[in-house]
């Protein structure tokens, strides 16, 4: 009796210790994030004593090392958005349609083969994709389309699409595959064709999962550095066509941070650019979190009209 109570106490103590341990582990990543954010703002905000927020965000010229310098990141913001949007236009149809095919049409054996291969695409280091874009795709685009340079917005978007397709495809496929079989069977039993079932039942039922996939894919694209540094061309100007060279924010930070004088205005301006980039990814993440959970959309509504 006494013995068992002791064991009980020691077990409780161990339980608490383990709980505390996991609490610390969870805290570690949150603390790290907090420290990074504080650091980001500490190093970025001083620039706004030199240039107003409006001039920084909407200034057309980025000449950080001139005397006097110009710190306008508007072309960089436009470039980041443009590259992300164009890459989304390429990667969303490809990723989602591949996912639909894999989850709905492909045989189980084919699915077992193709899915890991698509996911393997995500394992390619970004510098390899960037190098591919620079050495193979750029001269090819330039030759085929007869444009001045192959290092441009379109090439960068294409390479980013390569990188976000695995994310979009893999997560959408999981969402589509997890649609309850009863829904599909009910739809088919009501006389809907396979295509009608996919378009009216399966897609609506898995749409929030697909949205999550798309947002994750886009977050990856907007924050990606190496690829845009290597293939976007890097001209800090407003693009007028998708074949213009552009300089997205991460490329600018990566290219210039190494040589920017420590705690100089240029250094602060680059950190402030990073704050803007952080705001963008935060917005995307916030959008993803607030999009309704998958189960909320499950239901027969799409078929009601039939």
């Amino acid at each position: 009796m006494v013995n068992s109570r002791q064991t009980g106490k020691s077990r409780q103590r161990r339980d608490r210790a383990i709980q505390f341990f996991f609490f610390c582990v969870a805290l570690a990543s949150i603390t790290t994030l907090a420290i990074i954010v504080v650091f980001l703002f500490m190093e970025g905000l001083p620039i706004f004593s030199k240039v107003s927020v409006h001039d920084f965000l909407f200034g057309r010229y980025w000449y950080p090392t001139d005397e006097p310098p110009d710190f306008g990141i508007f072309p960089l913001i436009v470039a980041s958005i443009a590259v992300t949007v164009v890459s989304a236009v390429i990667s969303i149809p490809l990723g989602v349609l591949t996912a639909l095919y894999l989850a709905e049409s492909a045989s189980a054996r084919l699915r077992e083969w193709v899915k890991p291969i698509v996911e393997l695409l995500a394992a390619l280091p970004s510098v390899v994709i960037g190098f591919f874009g620079m050495v193979i795709v750029a001269p090819f685009l330039q030759e085929i389309l007869d444009i001045p340079t192959g290092l441009n917005l379109f090439n960068a978007a294409l390479m980013l699409a390569f990188m976000s397709i695995p994310t979009i495809c893999s997560i959408s496929e999981d969402a589509i595959f997890s649609v309850p079989i009863e829904l599909k069977e009910a739809s088919l039993a009501l006389g809907a064709t396979h295509w009608e079932t996919i378009a009216r039942v399966i897609l609506p039922a898995s749409i929030s999962g697909i949205c999550t996939a798309i947002i994750l894919g886009m977050s990856r694209a907007i924050g990606e550095t190496m690829v845009v540094l290597m293939v976007a061309g890097g001209a800090a100007m407003m693009p007028t066509s998708i074949f213009n060279p552009v300089r997205p924010m991460p490329a600018s930070i990566a290219a210039e941070m190494g040589e920017a004088p420590f705690r100089g205005d240029h250094y602060y301006a680059l950190f402030a650019t990073a704050i803007v980039l952080f705001a963008f990814t935060l917005l995307l993440t916030w959008w993803q979190i607030t999009s309704p959970p998958n189960t909320g959309r499950l239901g027969p509504q799409p078929c009601e009209g039939d």
Partner: protein, 272 residues
């Protein structure tokens, strides 16, 4: 009990490591990627001759090297530009007085695709191209093709020299492509018939064609006698007047028969 043994063991290991570090002299070199090949080559030979000294070298850019010198995390900072007044001020505030040593010369050459027929540009022509005033090779005596202007990131030492010697501090137009390294410029120019870029003499290879500037070929001779217009000295900065291993290493680097021999091997122009 087990935990205790573990602690003691790791403590002993840590002690051994620090003891080793104290016994063998260590030298940390950080900074410009332009000076990096020189530092690597010379350090390799130096370590062979002085096995008791360990030298760790990393790039990261002139600014980063000087930054490391200021906060005391490096012994020598490589730099492709002279230290800025702001940086000297920061260093002195931190109690470190940076001392410069010129270790080599670099000459910056404009490069085009090998198929380009243009041979020579004047400084004024280069400036017009980089200001975006001239947009077609036709206007420069070449074929009817658009000029794709490739420049370096505005904070690189190479850009700084270009902006001082060619642009006279005027701005490179925003439509110029940006590459983050000499190697990337070679890569981009060699793949594009329309391109013009500029690189350090050390990165010149067969895949691109160097242009003469004001009828002068960029070479060791023209850099040293001062006739080639786009050249600059490269520096190593030390924390205060160098002592001990740092002094020995700097002496080795600037010695005409020792370090300087390898400067030309690394593709730069030696001091003598």
């Amino acid at each position: 009990m087990k935990l205790k043994t573990c602690w003691i063991l790791s403590l002993a290991a840590a002690l051994c490591l620090t003891a080793n570090m104290v016994l063998a002299g260590t030298l940390v070199i950080k900074g410009s990627t332009t000076v990096l090949p020189i530092a690597q080559k010379v350090a390799e030979i130096y370590m062979k001759q002085h096995p008791d000294v360990k030298i760790s070298i990393s790039g990261g850019g002139s600014g980063n090297g000087i930054k490391a010198l200021i906060d005391g995390s490096t012994d020598i900072a490589d730099s492709s530009r002279f230290i800025k007044p702001k940086e000297v001020k920061l260093a002195v505030e931190n109690g470190e007085y940076p001392v410069p040593f010129a270790v080599a010369y670099d000459c910056i050459v404009p490069v085009v695709h090998p198929s380009n027929s243009v041979m020579n540009f004047t400084l004024a022509q280069l400036k017009a191209i980089y200001k975006g005033e001239v947009k077609n090779w036709k206007e420069m005596g070449g074929p009817d093709r658009p000029i794709v202007v490739i420049s370096r990131d505005t904070s690189s030492g190479t850009y700084e020299v270009w902006s001082k010697k060619v642009m006279n501090k005027e701005r490179v137009f925003p439509g110029a492509l940006l590459q983050a390294s000499n190697g990337a410029i070679v890569q981009a120019v060699s793949k594009n018939k329309n391109a013009i870029g500029y690189i350090g003499f050390g990165y010149m290879d067969k895949s691109v064609k160097a242009l003469m500037v004001d009828e002068v070929v960029g070479s060791e001779e023209t850099t040293l006698n001062g006739t080639y217009p786009i050249s600059r000295p490269l520096y190593m900065f030390t924390r205060g007047w160098p002592k001990g291993d740092t002094l020995k290493f700097i002496n080795f680097v600037v010695h005409p028969q020792k370090g300087q021999k390898y400067v030309s091997e690394a593709g730069y122009v030696p001091l003598y």
